[in-house]
């Protein structure tokens, strides 16, 4: 599996890609907070927020529908909120033929608002990872005072993610070829047996990874590792265009809240 298959970073050269990663992280988080705190049925603010996302993804050369399409993965989760339509008190719009369930306007409004809020927040997070490389993201988090150890562990994980998913793919392929299935007969044994095979694969992967971690650590020691993974790189100063973008973002967030609340 090639890393680019898994990585969501889109290599482009746009003004959004060149923005200070710290700024992008902070703006994303505050955008999501602003989204979550918008009241139900703030359609104007939702529309405006979506307009902002669309224009940013246009500026980032990602294409208009890039984030909207990828944010559809939120859809299966909406099942957890769907019942609020029938239980929230409000003016009845429709009574279901079975039971005493009533579709209320307040419930419907809340349900749709929850989904829109979630969909918009997801699009902003997608924008962040699509325009910021992993290394930049980690450096930004380090400069935002996330503890060094967490950054190092996450960076280490990222480095070996592709190695271990490759290894897992090989294990799965080997299982497929062992469990040859005929058209009229399923491959593999009973449910217990299948679960045990899967468990043994996990155990196998665990041991291989644990021993790999030992080897990696020994190799690091041999290269002079002394619990300092990387030399601390200074956090760069924000350039004037970063400050301008930040000011624009703050203005937009205020505007969103004003539109949403009044």
């Amino acid at each position: 599996m090639h890393p680019t298959l898994l990585d969501r970073y889109q290599l482009k050269n746009s003004s959004i890609h060149r923005l200070d990663p710290r700024l992008k992280v902070v703006v994303t988080i505050f955008f999501i907070i602003s989204n979550v705190s918008l009241p139900d049925g703030a359609w104007g603010a939702f529309l405006l927020a979506w307009g902002v996302i669309l224009s940013v993804s246009f500026m980032a050369l990602l294409g208009i529908s890039y984030t909207a399409k990828r944010a559809m993965i939120v859809l299966p989760f909406t099942l957890t909120a769907v019942t609020i339509i029938f239980t929230m008190p409000g003016n009845s719009l429709l009574t279901l033929p079975f039971g005493s369930y009533e579709l209320t306007d307040a419930g419907l409004m809340r349900f749709v608002s929850i989904i829109i809020r979630s969909w918009l927040s997801l699009q902003m997070a997608i924008l962040l990872t699509a325009t910021t490389s992993f290394v930049d993201l980690m450096h930004a988090l380090r400069c935002l005072y996330v503890p060094q150890t967490i950054i190092e562990i996450v960076s280490f994980m990222y480095r070996y993610l592709f190695v271990l998913t490759d290894e897992t793919t090989r294990l799965l392929r080997a299982r497929e070829s062992r469990m040859a299935a005929l058209p009229d007969r399923k491959g593999g044994g009973s449910l217990m047996w299948r679960a045990r095979v899967a468990g043994h694969m996990v155990g196998q992967l665990f041991l291989r990874s644990y021993e790999r971690a030992d080897r990696v650590y020994n190799a690091m020691l041999a290269r002079g590792y002394n619990s300092q993974l990387s030399h601390p790189v200074a956090c760069p100063f924000m350039r004037s265009q970063d400050w301008t973008s930040g000011a624009v973002a703050v203005a937009i967030l205020f505007l969103l809240q004003i539109v949403g609340r009044f």
């Binding site: 898994l6 239980t87 979630s118 897992t168 155990g203 619990s227």
Partner: protein, 330 residues
């Protein structure tokens, strides 16, 4: 998902969407509260693993996190197109120790949210708490209580803990959804617990099989992971407390949701979205601890007895199974 068309037989973790909360489903106060709890626990976990592992901490935790991420791809077909797969919290905490398990699971969930948008950013604290920290606590706490017991009992308890860890995460998620005013309590708790009772079985089978395999191949690993953890009694108490809470809260919340809502109202917990309509209830001022309290405790006790019987039966069954030598050809 980007890699689905290329690897049709590798369903990603997305086939269990009800656990990775996306942003927007939890209210701001609940999200921030969960972040606070998560940050506090993670700070301790990072410090403890640093003391235990020294400079091995970073490579070991990083690679183990990548392992859990990859191991979540390993699935097995159950029935009707659904498949069981691993979350890994109990596996990590039993083999690596509880603090290390917490660090590993938090890293996995953090990267899933940050890089793959599997789970939101603002609700990441809640996701880490539900799927990582609580499962480590339950898994290691229950395992620790039977550390000196026979192998079959240990394996059975690990299986029970794996199932319970999934249920704990589901219950926590359901409660957070309800407190945020996203789902009504009467529906979200039975639905989440019902679905995850099945998902938990897959988790239990895979965890037990994986740990049996590790024990046969590298028994030293399990010994070091279990003994290096400090404060064994604290873990036991914590694990048993969460277990008892889940066993008491689940039947109560399913049978008497009004009682739970009154408690939440009294404590000003409930999001304003759904709190208003309940003020019209005249019995709002009544003390909630009436006949319900007794029935609640009884329900929890019955649940605990049932789980104990199941665990004993599993131990009996496993004792028979483990006598036969298992051959594994990778």
């Amino acid at each position: 998902m980007l890699i689905l068309p290329i690897l049709p037989n590798v369903p990603l973790w997305v086939d269990n969407p009800s656990m990775h909360l996306p942003d927007g489903f939890l209210s701001l106060p609940i999200s921030l509260f969960c972040w606070l709890v998560t940050i506090a626990l993670l700070i301790v976990a990072i410090q403890r693993t640093k003391i235990e592992l020294g400079e091995r901490q970073v490579p070991l935790m990083g690679i183990m996190a990548a392992l859990i991420f990859a191991a979540q791809m390993i699935n097995f077909p159950v029935a009707g197109g659904t498949s069981g797969h691993l979350l890994g919290g109990v596996l990590a905490s039993v083999v690596l120790g509880p603090w290390a398990g917490m660090v590993v699971m938090a890293t996995v969930i953090g990267v899933q949210g940050l890089l793959f948008q599997d789970g939101g950013l603002l609700v990441m604290g809640a996701n880490i708490l539900n799927m990582g920290l609580l499962s480590s606590l339950v898994g290691y706490g229950l395992y620790r209580t039977v550390l000196g017991q026979s192998r079959a009992v240990q394996i059975a308890v690990i299986g029970g803990a794996a199932w319970l860890s999934v249920m704990t995460g589901a219950l926590a998620t359901a409660l957070q959804l309800w407190l945020s005013g996203t789902s009504p309590l009467t529906i979200v708790i039975p639905a989440m617990l019902g679905i995850h009772a099945f998902i938990g079985i897959g988790e239990a089978f895979i965890t037990v099989a994986a740990i049996t395999f590790i024990r046969q191949t590298r028994p030293d690993l399990l010994e070091t992971g279990a003994t290096t953890a400090q404060g064994g009694r604290g873990w036991m108490v914590g694990g048993l407390a969460v277990t008892a809470l889940v066993l008491i809260l689940s039947p109560w919340a399913s049978a008497d949701p009004d009682g739970l809502e009154r408690v939440a109202e009294d404590w000003h917990f409930l999001a304003r979205g759904i709190s208003a309509p309940y003020q019209i209830f005249p019995d709002y001022t009544l003390p909630f601890l009436g006949e319900t309290a007794f029935s609640t405790v009884m329900a929890g006790t019955v649940g605990a007895i049932v789980v104990a019987i199941v665990v004993m039966l599993m131990a009996r069954l496993l004792q028979k199974l483990t006598k036969a030598p298992t051959v594994f050809n990778p």
